[in-house]
Amino acid sequence: MIPRQWKSGLLVMAGLMGALALFDAGSLALAQQPAGGPVEYRDVPWIGSRNLIWIVAQIHLLFGGFVLGVPIFGLVCEYIGVRTKDPRYDRLAKEFTKLLTSAYATTALLGGILLFCLIGFYPKLWNYMTDVFFSTFMIYGLLFFLETPTLYLYWYGWDAMKNRKGLHLFLGLLLNIFGFIIMIVSNSWATFQASPVILSESLTYWEKVWTAVNNPTWWPVNIHRLIANVVLGGFICGAYAGVRYLGAKTQEERAHYDWMGYIGNFIGIFGLLPLPFAGYWLMREIYEYNQQMGITLMGGFLSWLFILQAMLIGILFLGANYYFWQGLIHRVEGGVRYRKPILTMLTILILCLAVWMTPHSLVASLEEARKMGGTHHPLLGVFGVMSAKMTVVNIIILVTFMSFLLYWRAGKEATVTWARGAVMGVNVSFFLAAVAVIVLGVWGYFVPAIIRINYFSTTQVGIVIVVLLTATPLIGAVVKSARTTKEMKWGVMPAKAQYALILNATVVILTMTLMGYARSASRQYWHIFGVMRDTSPYAYSPALGTAGALMALNTFIFCMMVAFIFWVASMGSKEHPAAEKPAMPDTAAKKTAAARPH
């Protein structure tokens, strides 16, 4: 039975894909062929080859992130299900793994189109890349022979292996390992373009390949993307649950999708917290590799991009926290009493975000600049530098984690004697960490940049990580032994909370498109930085207005395609997911309430 709400999505997607297919065929036919000599570039009318590649590559990469993020998400949920014996986790993992088969095919389709576009539009670049990376292309292809059967075994063997969960989890792990290797192989190509290394003639063939693969930004990008994929998987799960919740007909359905939204948001935030640290490492490596590239990104024409990024990440943190707070107020009986701490946290978050979004210098008229005494605002200018931004990012992470701890402990009464001391210790550690982060941030203004970057910023990050890693098991132990006094009520969240979930997923996707543009634009007019110059008419990076419109378009297309895949996947299930298990989520929740974060 086809859910009615998906029918329009199907029509929109079919129309869109048909239009794209027609357009593609027409434009390739019009491709220009320069006379004489090897063809270096081809173009298409109206949209231009660069924009076409941009759209195809962006959507392919988003799907890549999706098909790599979902298995991580699925494996984690399945593992929690095995450990807690809560069948909801297993069902959730299965529901999302079902999407993989359709999403996998779409990713491959887009990858094929991207390859044809690259060969067709940028033959000079692609010839060079093939010379350097040909063996990795082969490895990349072979990896799919491992990934694909593993995926089939993992998905089709779900029910068959229900009594051999260890083996099934192992398959899930293998799927993730192959997926990770596929990701890092293709990352090597893109990172080589940004940070190529000298391939000395004295090196053997394989030494050359390895030198090219193991370029300076390869591992930072690998780690950054791995974490970002977890975030993407989590927030897309949340958005899916949000949409289904809004359309749910029964309380049982609402309870199921409410719980699913909570889990998606939790996993998304879980990945989001370390993401700024991974981003910081990547930027450090970029500066180490080439200061000019770092300055172009952070202080050059791309500097305003980071204000947009701050805006998006700010919305994401606010959205994720807002969802937690809505859960506290609506799911926990008597949750209104949390309004005061929520207001405090909201104030801190908004202040921090205001600092994060303060630009370093302002584009002002001469008169305005004279009044200000320069391009830096006399008061706000101090918030525009990295010392302030690093400080507030760490505070935002601490506040978000505090939100989560508050939610985790809600409706529980400690039963162990040391619980009070543990909670007090965690609170004190949060306070001291915040003070230390602020002190280091202020001190950072008075030391050379190299000292701040190498010691102060890393210490700030280290302090926050230590607090997070200490507080989690401590509060976990308190909650595990606690007695539930007020049960969580699932399926009572307001519609605005579901829109927060949808917004979070949209923001994550949009941020990925934004940072993809940043990474690509940081190469400026080079196909391969410092090695192969872009001599095409598109050897420029468009202004952020144009780029922003394309990012929004890419995000919208991706969202619609994912909606289509969800709809296709839902066609296969005869029963509603919530109806597969007769027990209400509340019942299962009672069994394991003390064993996991709500």
Partner: protein, 251 residues
């Protein structure tokens, strides 16, 4: 269905909001830099060389990204003020082309660690200065508290057509004609070698790109003269050969 449409509209509205904000911030495209033309013909004196070197130092060479001339709190690499009085020409050349030639050890570690140079190889990509540009930058550095020992005659004509339109000295060109060995094939009488009466542009092209327009003999014997001649020699010899146009009517 109604809810789904609401969600689609919500997403579309948010994305439109983002695109709107992106349009409100300062719009600045990153255009590729124009390819700088190094015109040796413009170099008549050491001062010219220094001026061009200064331009490259702050432009294509990207030296000022890390170095400063004079004290700077933000410079990442050594202050180059007075460097001309401290370093020899050879040392400057080696420093920019083989930054790792003198290896330093970091003695804060035990055993001391190899200290990698921050300086990029300046005549390799991405900066990739050519020999003429390198000589100009070195002149600029020598001018910082020292004596410029690089002579404009060391600038070689490596760019086709780079010196077109610049007059030389026909008298000096005659000597160059002999010195460079042109006489071995074209002389003793240039008129007999059919060099007289040629257009000056064609003479320049024949030296710089001997294969241009040759149909019968694809192996020109002129190869390498463009690299061997200084810009002054090149201007003089073309001026000399160009002057033979008027001489032709006399004999």
């Amino acid at each position: 269905m109604k809810n789904f449409i609401k969600v689609v509209l919500f997403v579309a509205a948010f994305l439109s909001f983002f695109a709107f904000i992106a349009l409100q911030i300062p719009q600045q495209a990153s255009l590729p830099p124009s390819i700088e033309k190094f015109d040796p013909a413009q170099i008549q004196s050491k001062d010219d060389l220094v001026k061009i070197g200064q331009k490259i130092f702050y432009g294509k060479g990207q030296c000022a990204l890390c170095h400063s001339i004079g004290h700077s709190a933000t410079a990442r690499c050594p202050n180059l003020e007075g460097v001309g009085g401290k370093l020899t020409r050879e040392f400057i050349y080696e420093s920019v082309t083989q930054p790792q030639a003198y290896t330093y050890m970091d003695y804060t570690y035990s055993p001391p660690k190899f200290f990698p140079a921050r300086m990029p190889v300046i005549n390799k990509p991405p900066i990739d200065l050519n020999n003429n540009e390198l000589l100009s930058v070195m002149s600029f550095l020598q001018s910082q508290g020292g004596e410029v020992t690089i002579d404009p005659s060391e600038i070689v004509v490596s760019d086709t057509g780079a010196t077109l339109g610049k007059a030389g000295d026909p008298g000096a060109g005659q000597k160059v004609f002999v010195r460079m060995g042109c006489v071995k094939c074209h002389a003793p009488d240039p008129f007999k070698a059919k060099l007289a009466g040629k257009d000056e542009g064609m003479i320049r092209l024949a030296i710089l790109d001997p294969n241009a327009g040759v149909k019968t003999d694809p192996k020109p014997v002129h190869k390498g003269f463009d690299q061997a001649m200084s810009v002054r020699d090149f201007n003089d010899v073309t001026a000399y050969l160009g002057s033979l146009k008027t001489a032709k009517v006399k004999p």
